[in-house]
């Protein structure tokens, strides 16, 4: 039982980690929690559905096209809704993100909804489950785990080794200082939103064969991603990854060993625990003292 729960917890955790990374990079760049992140995920998944199922393209090109489309959508949403409000205060931006979430849901319903059904998404490899050691897993679970790890490594490399990534880190650490040394803050914020949506799109297309797609999928994913980010540290990328995996594992082990009735509630308990006992998260660092 332990091995099965571990496998399913890691698969769920990979999804939450990717979604949490998308959330955290926006927080780092703008100090705003994008409440429409779940809908970005949902829309990314439907882009994948459009390319893979409706247009009949193979899985991998569909994944890449969906990430590109989600990236563009993130950029457009930033320009249209967030940028004009960035100087109007946190509440305005939060309200804008709520509005965006409803708009995206409405558009998705108009295009892909209508019959109240969950849209099946064919996996990358169909076929019987495979045995790994003593555990039987679905081929798509392996695809999710491997792809998520590759994407997370890609993100880490981007922030560590590229100039843009380093600028983004600098902006996240101190936006005013970054402006003073000539870092183009607006362009970077624009890129951050696009990257965040791209990450959500990748997570959605990877997970869609396991989760199915429907216009309301975003909220549940957002809650789990937020729990992961809060636990790991809202300002820490490695923290978001760690937190995402922990939430997936907690959900799986709690449901398996404590009781299935606690499965859904476990994410909310994690959020409460993090807020009460680890307000900066596991990897969010010590609180800074302002002088």
């Amino acid at each position: 039982m332990f091995a099965y729960l571990l496998a399913s917890g890691l698969t769920l955790g990979a999804l939450y980690a990717l979604a949490a990374v998308g959330l955290v990079i926006v927080v780092k760049a703008t100090s705003v929690v994008n409440l429409a992140q779940g809908e970005m995920f949902m829309f990314g998944g439907f882009f994948g559905f459009l390319f893979h199922v409706q247009l009949g393209l193979p899985y991998v090109p569909s994944l890449l096209l969906a990430v590109a489309a989600a990236f563009l959508m993130g950029g457009v949403v930033y320009r249209a809704a967030f940028r004009p409000l960035m100087k109007s205060g946190l509440v305005s931006v939060l309200l804008a993100s709520i509005a965006i979430s409803f708009i995206l849901k409405g558009v998705a319903r108009a295009i892909w909804g209508g019959v109240g059904d969950y849209v099946p998404f064919p996996p990358m490899f169909s076929g019987p489950p495979v045995q790994l050691g003593g555990v039987i897993v679905l081929p798509q679970q392996l695809v999710v785990l491997a792809s998520s790890l590759a994407l997370l490594i890609g993100f880490a490399s981007f922030f560590r080794f590229t100039e843009t990534g380093k600028w983004m880190q600098a902006m996240a650490d101190n936006a005013k200082a970054a402006t003073l040394v000539g870092i183009p803050i607006d362009r970077l914020q624009h890129l951050t939103f696009a990257l965040s949506a791209g990450a959500a799109g990748a997570a959605a297309v990877l997970m869609a064969p396991l989760t199915q797609l429907y216009p309301d999928i975003g909220f549940g994913i957002f809650v789990k991603a937020f729990a992961g980010a809060a636990l790991g540290g809202l300002s820490s990328l490695p923290g978001a990854v760690l937190g995402g995996f922990l939430v997936g594992l907690i959900e799986s082990f709690v449901a398996g060993y404590v009781g299935s009735k606690y499965q859904d509630v476990s994410a909310f308990v994690v959020i409460m625990f993090a807020l009460l006992f680890l307000p900066r998260g596991i990897m969010g660092g010590a609180a800074m003292r302002k002088i």
Partner: protein, 391 residues
């Protein structure tokens, strides 16, 4: 006024009085030549299949009845209002049918929540209501004199699930349920049925309506050695359970509700070959649209809705409308709401579409007590058994 114009007024007045003469009848929504039936349900939005599609099916019956001269000489007029599967919208839609459209009876009710919203308005109006698809028990229990249902109610579905598991020889029966309002009503009814039979479920698991992973639940059911699992959940969570049970090699008898009746779509959602081999779901109706027994209805459907695909929801509408027509017929030439209710109170209609007779009594208006159990055979839904809770 000239003499000519005075003469012209006479036939004009006479012609104006004719419609009033033919409309002269004591009962709302009834004339000597027509009877107006109000159809309530979702015409738009995600729940339209329990509304519009069922109404489309019902209309085939009404149009055919009209073609044959009507019921007791009265042609059936149909008027629809959209409840959008939303309780607030349902109140407005019911009011329009009652006060604006002045219907004789209401034949409708798809989404349970919307019907529950409309219930007080319709109950107070005393307009007879024959529910065609809503399954909530609270609509017909306790019995309201003017409200009947031809749908399998939630508690009858639950009892049928248990009955079917026992008929399959299951000794260790477990439940997995989603505990929202929909699921809780069924779950509680099911627990009562277990108690009545003097048995206890070997496992009682929960699953979220939108669960993405059901490995923990599948493992717990497997550990409890359940040989039959009653699923009180929606297709999304059910698909996750079927997939993850198949993944760990756990193959009990799985028995779902009508919510999981679209087995070909469920198979696609599960995506694991063989995962539905021991899966059964309840159906309101005995036959599927493609069955040879439904050939005549298929022909009529194609005639009335060319280019559309006939579904199980259309059959539900056809079957329910047959009951309404039978009650109108039994109510006789002197049609009143009281005579219609009296006819419904003692109806015992041998349906060719429902799995058994639709039978109401003065004290029991849950008139559908026969569940059909369907399975996916060679990619097609087939009825493999029926159960009856009729006394």
């Amino acid at each position: 006024m000239t003499r000519f114009s005075r003469l012209a007024v006479v036939p004009l007045l006479l012609s104006m009085s004719l419609p009033f003469a033919t409309a002269a009848h004591a009962e709302t929504g009834v004339t000597d030549t027509t009877v107006r039936i109000g159809q309530l349900g979702a015409l738009t939005g995600p729940g339209y299949f329990t509304g519009k599609l069922v109404m489309d099916g019902a209309d085939i019956v009404y149009k055919e009845v009209n073609k044959a001269g009507g019921v007791n000489g009265r042609k059936v007029e149909m008027v629809r209002q959209d409840d959008r599967c939303d309780p607030a919208a349902a109140i407005g839609a019911a009011k329009k049918l009652i006060f604006d459209d002045k219907v004789f009876i209401i034949h409708g009710g798809g989404c349970s929540n919307a019907s529950i919203g409309a219930f007080p308005e319709i109950k107070e109006s005393k307009v007879p209501w024959v529910i065609f698809a809503s399954v909530a028990d609270s609509l017909t229990s306790p019995t309201t004199p003017d409200i009947f249902t031809t749908a399998l109610t939630a508690s009858i579905e639950s009892a049928s699930q248990l009955e079917f598991a026992l008929s399959k020889g299951a000794k260790r029966i477990a439940i997995i349920s989603t505990r929202d309002a929909w699921g809780r009503a069924r779950y509680e009814a099911l627990m009562e049925d277990f108690k009545k039979k003097g048995i206890a479920p070997v496992a009682d698991e929960e699953i979220g309506a939108e669960a993405n992973d059901a490995t923990p639940q599948a493992l717990r059911l497997q550990q409890a050695k359940a040989d039959a699992v009653l699923l009180v959940t929606f297709p999304k969570a059910g698909a996750a359970l079927l997939r993850d049970a198949a993944k760990i090699g756990y193959k009990p008898i799985l028995i779902g509700t009508t919510a999981m009746g679209d087995l070909p779509v469920l198979a696609k959602q599960v995506g694991s070959p063989g995962a539905l081999d021991s899966m059964y779901a309840i159906s309101h109706v005995r036959y599927m649209p493609e069955d040879k027994e439904m050939a005549d209805w298929r022909r009529l459907f194609t005639q009335y809705y060319p280019g559309e695909t006939m579904s199980i929801y259309h059959l539900l509408g056809i079957a329910s409308a047959q009951v309404v027509v039978e009650a109108l017929n039994q109510a006789g030439k002197d049609l009143t709401r009281a005579s219609f209710v009296k006819a419904m109170d003692k109806i015992d209609f041998k349906s060719t579409i429902y799995p058994g007779a639709i039978a109401c009594t003065v004290t029991d208006h849950q008139c559908h007590k026969h569940a059909a159990f369907v399975q996916l055979v060679d990619g097609r839904i087939s009825t493999v058994a029926t159960t009856s809770l009729a006394k």
